[in-house]
C-alpha cells in the first residue's frame, strides 16, 4: 500500500506493507536520526513528532500514520541552522554518545511548543519516556532550561 506523509514539511509517498512499523519505514527512507533503542516503546530513542505530539515511532504502524505530519530530528534543525534546543544540548554538555539525543530533543520540542516556560518538574515529566545511560540526565535538563532562555531572548 501507499501512504502519504508530510515529513519535515515535505510531502512524501511511501510504499509500505501493512505490518510495517513507522520507525523502520522512516529509517529505510533515510531519516537515520530516528534511532532504535528497544523496539518496545520503553526508551524514546525513536521519538518523532506526529501531528505535533511526541510519539515512539516503534509503536506506530506506518499505515496508521497515513496523511499525518511528521517531524523527525532532521526537521528540527541542521548543523548550519540548528534549533536553539540542538545548540543548547551541545553547549550544556547534554550530548554524550548522542544516541538518545534526537529523541530527547523531540520530546523537549513537543514540550516547548506547548509551554514557553516550563518548570523543572514539567521538563522531567516531558522527558520521562526517554532513556539515557550516559548523562544521568542532569545536563539534559540544563540544556532544556538553556534553550528556554535562548528562545526568550530571540
Amino acid at each position: 500500500m501507499i501512504i502519504k506523509l508530510i515529513i519535515n514539511n515535505e510531502e512524501k509517498e511511501f510504499t509500505i506493507k501493512p505490518g510495517d512499523i513507522l520507525l523502520d519505514v522512516l529509517r529505510r527512507e533515510g531519516y537515520k536520526g530516528v534511532k532504535k533503542g528497544c523496539g518496545t516503546g520503553e526508551c524514546g530513542a525513536c521519538a518523532v513528532l506526529l501531528n505535533g505530539r511526541a510519539v515512539n515511532s516503534c509503536l506506530v504502524l506506518a499505515a496508521e500514520a497515513d496523511n499525518s505530519r511528521i517531524v523527525t530530528i532532521e526537521g528540527i534543525g541542521t548543523t548550519e541552522k540548528p534549533d536553539p534546543l540542538q545548540e543548547s544540548f551541545v553547549e550544556a554538555g547534554a550530548v554524550q554518545c548522542g544516541y538518545c539525543t534526537p529523541g530527547m530533543i523531540i520530546s523537549a520540542k513537543a514540550l516547548l511548543n506547548k509551554k514557553k516556560d516550563p518548570t523543572d518538574t514539567e521538563i522531567k515529566k516531558a522527558l520521562d519516556g526517554n532513556y539515557c545511560r550516559c548523562t544521568g540526565y542532569v545536563k539534559i535538563i540544563d540544556a532544556v532550561r538553556m534553550a528556554v532562555k535562548k528562545m526568550k531572548n530571540k
Binding site: 520503553e42 540548528p82 540542538q86 554538555g93 544516541y99 522531567k124
Partner: protein, 791 residues
C-alpha cells in the same frame, strides 16, 4: 613573548606542573566536536548506512542452561525462501578463544567457540542465519531442529566448585595462554592470591575485628544502542567490519584469528557508538556476522534486540566478598583480609582481571601493612560477566565502603575523619600495587597527586554532613532520613601493557587531521584529544579534525577501557602534536630565515622571539605542500604508561526511607572528584553524573531475576528498572581542581569509572544512619528493605 608551550612531556612537568593560567584550550569546557552532528541526527552510527543486498542475521539461542547438542538439522531453514546461509558448529573452525577484548596475550581463558556442540547458558548461541529480511531470518531460526541432551546446570556460584557438580568446560581445548591458575575441571575460571605483611600479627594487634559477607549482583550495561555489527567485503574482497566496539584493534586481531584470516584481510571501522560502559570491550558478535558475510559474499547486519542484550551480551560479574579487618582504638587499620568469590557465568571473559581489580583498585586506598587478597572466579550456567565500568572496584567498594563505616562507628570516630586519617597520601605507596596486576605482577607506584581530603571536606559541607548525621541517628515515624558517605579511588590505564598512538598531518589552510586509535564511544575523547593538540599548537579546536578508530587509517590503540584514554592516548596526542610543531618550526625557520630555537607558536602562527617576525600556519601549510622543499608535515607517535595514578573521590548521599513500604529514595547525591586537571570540566562532570546515576539505580532497582532453570525473567526495559528523568534526584558534581598529576597529560588523570563505585556503599551507610540496620546485599529494593527492618 617567550614560548610557554615547551614540552610538558619531558621531566619538566615533574618539577613544575603546567600553570593553568597559561592554558588556552585545555581546562575549558569546549563543545564536543561531534556534538552538533549528533544533536541534528546526522552523525553516523553503525546502522546509519545503506548497503545494497544487505542480509539480516539472527541467532538461535539455547533454551537450556546446560546441554549437549546431539544433532542439528538446518535443512528446512536452508530451504526457506530468502535464506542465504545457515551456520552451525559444523560449518566453522573450532578455535578456542576469549571474547574479552583485551591486549594480547589475553589473561582471560580461551573457553569459547564461535559455535559449539554444547550450550552453557540460556541464550547461548546455537546457530546463525542470514536472510533477505529480518522476518525471514526469524522464521528460519525456528525451523532449525536441535536435539539436546539436557545436563544438570550449575546455577549457584557458591556451590559451583562442590564435588559432584557438572563440569561446564569439559572440552579439551579450554586453557589459558599465559600460565595462570586455571582449573576448569572444578569450574574454576581463575584464582589469585596476594599477601603482604603478616596477617596473624595484624589481627593480634587489633582492638576490634570485623567480619562480614557482602554481595554484588548482576547488571546490564544497558547502553542505548545495543550490540550491532555490519560486515561486508570491500573492492578487494577484504572483510570490513563496521561495529559498535570499544576495541577496534582487538576486534581485528581476534576475528582474524577466529576465522583464520590474516589481519591484512580485515578492516574494522568504529563509527559513532551509542554507549559502551565496558559492554563493548568484547569481541562478541563480529565473528559470526563476518562468517556469514564470508559464506554469502554479501553485506550482513547483526543487531541485538534489547532482550538479547540483557541475556546474551555481557554483565557485571556478581561477587560474594568476605571481608575481615582489624582496627585499633585510635583508628589504625592493622589488617585487611578480602576473600572474593566471583561468578563469571558460562564463559570466563575478564574472569581474572575483574577479580584482581576488586583488590587492586580498592585495597591501596587505605594504609595497612598486613593485607591478604584471595579471589576465585567460578563458572556457572548463567549469563556471562564482562568488563563493566568500575571493573571489579564497584564490587569491592560495596564491601570496603560499608565495612569502613562499621569500623569508624565502632571506635567512635566520624567516618570522614577515619578516611582522612587512613587514606594513602602523596609520596606513599601501597604494597598492593605491586602484588596485584593484570594477569601478572603489578607495577609499584608512588602517589604523586591526591585531593581526597578536599573531596571529603567539600563534599561533607555540600551535604551538611555533621549536623545531619547526628540528627538522623534518632528518628521515629514513618519517613526517616539518613546520610552516608564513602571514599574511592580507581586507576588510569594499565601500566606497561596499554599502548595508544596518534598520527597527525597539516593541511594547507592551517588545519590538522588528528587520527587516533583511541575509541570515542560517547565519552568525548575525540574532543579532549583535540583540545590537547590545540593546546600544543595554539590553534582553535575547530582546526583539529579528529577521526577515531579505523584499523586501515588510524594508528593502533588498545581501545577505550581501564580508564586509559585521557591519561594514555592523551600523551600520544601531545607527543605527536609536539613533533608537528617542531616540523612547523623547520619550515618557518626556512621561510622567515630565523633560527628554529628562536621560534614559538601563538594564535595559529609562528613568531620569532628575537625579531617579532611571524608567519601564519596557513602560509606554512601552503608552502610546505606546494612551494619549496615540498613535503607533508606529518607525524605518528605512541605512548605507554608506567603507572596508573588513581583519581580520588568522596561521595555523599542523603536518602529518605519509608518505614511502611521499605522504599528508599535518594534526595541528594554529592560527588566530589579529584581527577587531576579536568581537560574539559563539563565533560568530566557529565561522566560523573552518568556514572553516579548508574550506580544509584544499581543500588536500588537494577537486578537480574532468574527462574529455577537459569532463565532471565526480566530482560526488557519494562521490568528491569532503570532510572528515567522523573526519577532523577539532585546530583551535584564538584570537580576538585589544584591537584594536577605530574605524570598526566596537562596534569590529567582518569574520570570515567570511579564515579560508579560509590552509590551502593554510600546508600547502605545512609540506610544505617536512618534506621540502624546494615544492608550488605544490594539492590536495596522496597521488599529487601522492608523485610530487613521488620525482622
Amino acid at each position: 613573548m617567550p614560548d610557554k608551550k615547551g614540552s610538558i612531556f619531558k621531566k619538566k612537568a615533574k618539577e613544575e606542573p603546567v600553570d593553568a593560567g597559561n592554558l588556552k584550550y585545555v581546562g575549558q569546557s569546549v563543545k564536543k566536536v561531534d556534538g552538533l552532528g549528533l544533536a541534528t541526527g546526522i552523525a553516523g552510527f553503525v546502522d546509519d548506512i545503506e548497503l545494497p543486498n544487505l542480509l539480516y542475521a539472527k541467532i538461535l539461542p539455547s533454551p537450556h542452561a546446560h546441554a549437549k547438542i546431539l544433532s542439528i538439522d538446518a535443512s528446512k531453514a536452508k530451504k526457506l525462501k530468502g535464506v542465504k546461509a545457515v551456520l552451525t558448529y559444523k560449518d566453522l573452525p573450532r578455535i578456542a578463544h576469549t571474547t574479552a577484548g583485551q591486549g594480547y596475550p589475553e589473561p582471560s581463558p580461551y573457553d569459547t567457540f564461535i559455535l559449539d556442540n554444547k550450550v552453557r547458558y540460556v541464550g547461548d548461541r546455537v546457530a546463525a542465519v542470514a536472510a533477505e529480511t529480518e522476518q525471514i531470518a526469524e522464521e528460519a531460526i525456528k525451523l532449525i531442529k536441535v536435539q539436546y541432551k539436557v545436563l544438570k546446570p550449575v546455577l549457584d556460584m557458591e556451590k559451583a566448585t562442590e564435588k559432584g557438580m557438572p563440569i561446564i568446560h569439559d572440552e579439551k581445548e579450554a586453557r589459558t595462554i599465559i600460565p595462570l591458575n586455571y582449573d576448569p575441571k572444578r569450574n574454576i575460571a581463575s584464582q589469585v592470591k596476594a599477601l603482604t605483611g603478616n596477617m596473624a600479627e595484624g589481627f593480634s594487634n587489633a582492638d576490634h575485628t570485623f567480619e562480614n559477607i557482602y554481595y554484588a549482583h548482576y547488571a546490564s550495561h544497558a547502553a542505548n544502542e545495543t550490540h550491532i555489527v555490519i560486515t561486508y567485503l570491500d573492492g578487494q574482497g577484504r572483510l570490513v567490519i563496521r561495529t559498535s566496539t570499544q576495541v577496534p584493534f582487538h576486534v581485528r586481531r581476534i576475528v582474524a584469528e577466529r576465522l583464520q584470516l590474516s589481519e591484512s584481510r580485515v578492516r574494522v571501522i568504529k563509527p559513532r557508538i551509542g554507549g559502551g560502559f565496558g559492554g563493548k570491550q568484547e569481541v562478541l558478535i563480529e565473528d559470526i556476522c563476518s562468517a556469514l558475510t564470508l559464506k554469502t559474499r554479501s553485506p550482513v547486519k547483526l543487531h541485538y534486540s534489547r532482550s538479547e542484550e540483557f541475556i546474551a551480551s555481557r554483565t557485571r560479574h556478581p561477587q560474594r566478598i568476605i571481608l575481615k579487618t582489624g582496627v585499633k582504638h585510635d583508628g589504625t587499620i592493622t589488617a585487611i583480609d578480602m576473600d572474593v568469590l566471583m561468578n563469571t557465568g558460562a564463559y570466563g571473559s575478564h574472569a581474572l582481571t575483574v577479580a584482581c581489580n576488586t583488590g587492586s583498585k580498592v585495597l591501596p586506598l587505605l594504609r595497612c601493612e598486613n593485607v591478604q587478597f584471595k579471589a576465585q572466579t567460578v563458572y556457572t550456567n548463567l549469563p556471562v560477566g564482562g568488563a563493566y565500568r568500575g571493573y571489579g572496584a564497584t564490587q569491592g567498594y560495596i564491601a570496603m565502603g560499608i565495612q569502613v563505616d562499621e569500623m569508624a562507628e565502632r571506635i567512635g570516630m566520624d567516618v570522614c575523619h577515619f578516611y582522612k586519617m587512613n587514606h594513602i597520601k602523596v609520596g606513599e605507596t601501597s604494597p598492593v600495587f605491586k602484588a596485584l596486576g593484570e594477569g601478572r605482577e603489578g607495577v609499584l607506584q608512588t602517589i604523586e597527586s591526591c585531593g581526597l581530603d578536599q573531596c571529603i571536606e567539600i563534599g561533607a559541607t555540600a551535604i551538611d554532613w555533621y549536623a545531619k548525621k547526628e540528627r538522623y541517628e534518632r528518628q521515629t515515624g514513618q519517613i526517616r532520613k539518613g546520610v552516608g558517605m564513602v571514599a574511592l579511588m580507581q586507576g588510569s590505564s594499565i601500566p606497561d601493557i596499554d599502548m595508544g598512538a596518534a598520527s597527525m598531518k597539516m593541511n594547507e589552510d592551517g588545519s590538522f587531521n588528528l587520527l587516533v586509535g583511541a575509541t570515542d564511544l560517547g565519552t568525548g575523547s575525540d574532543t579532549i584529544l583535540a583540545q590537547m593538540a590545540a593546546e600544543v599548537l595554539d590553534v582553535p579546536v575547530e582546526k583539529i579534525i579528529v577521526y577515531s578508530s579505523d584499523t586501515d587509517l588510524t594508528p593502533f590503540d588498545v581501545g577505550a577501557y581501564a580508564s586509559s584514554t585521557t591519561y594514555l592516548s592523551g600523551y600520544a596526542v601531545i607527543k605527536t602534536a609536539e613533533d608537528i610543531r617542531s616540523q612547523i618550526f623547520d619550515v618557518a625557520a626556512e621561510m622567515l630565515k630565523e633560527k628554529k630555537a628562536d621560534l614559538y607558536v601563538k594564535d595559529s602562527a609562528v613568531f620569532s622571539k628575537k625579531t617579532g617576525k611571524n608567519i601564519t600556519y596557513q602560509r606554512i601549510g601552503l608552502h610546505s605542500l606546494y612551494e619549496k622543499n615540498q613535503h607533508q608535515i606529518a607525524s605518528v607517535k605512541s605512548h605507554i604508561t608506567h603507572k596508573s595514578p588513581p583519581p580520588f573521590s568522596a561521595h555523599f548521599v542523603e536518602i529518605e526511607l519509608d518505614m511502611d513500604t521499605g522504599k528508599v529514595k535518594v534526595l541528594k547525591y554529592v560527588a566530589a572528584i579529584e581527577c587531576g586537571r579536568a581537560i574539559n570540566p563539563k565533560l568530566a562532570e557529565g561522566q560523573t553524573e552518568g556514572g553516579v546515576l548508574n550506580g544509584i539505580s544499581y543500588a536500588l532497582t537494577e537486578e537480574y531475576i532468574f527462574d529455577r532453570q537459569g532463565r532471565m525473567l526480566n530482560s526488557g526495559f519494562d521490568n528491569y528498572k532503570l532510572f528515567y528523568p522523573a526519577d532523577l534526584p539532585e546530583i551535584r558534581t564538584i570537580l576538585i581542581e589544584g591537584y594536577p598529576e605530574p605524570t598526566g597529560p596537562y596534569g590529567a588523570k582518569s574520570v570515567s569509572e570511579i564515579c560508579i563505585n560509590g552509590a551502593v556503599p554510600a546508600i547502605s551507610n545512609a540506610i544505617y544512619n536512618a534506621v540502624g540496620i546494615r544492608l550488605r546485599k544490594p539492590p536495596f529494593t522496597p521488599e529487601v528493605v522492608y523485610t530487613s527492618i521488620n525482622k
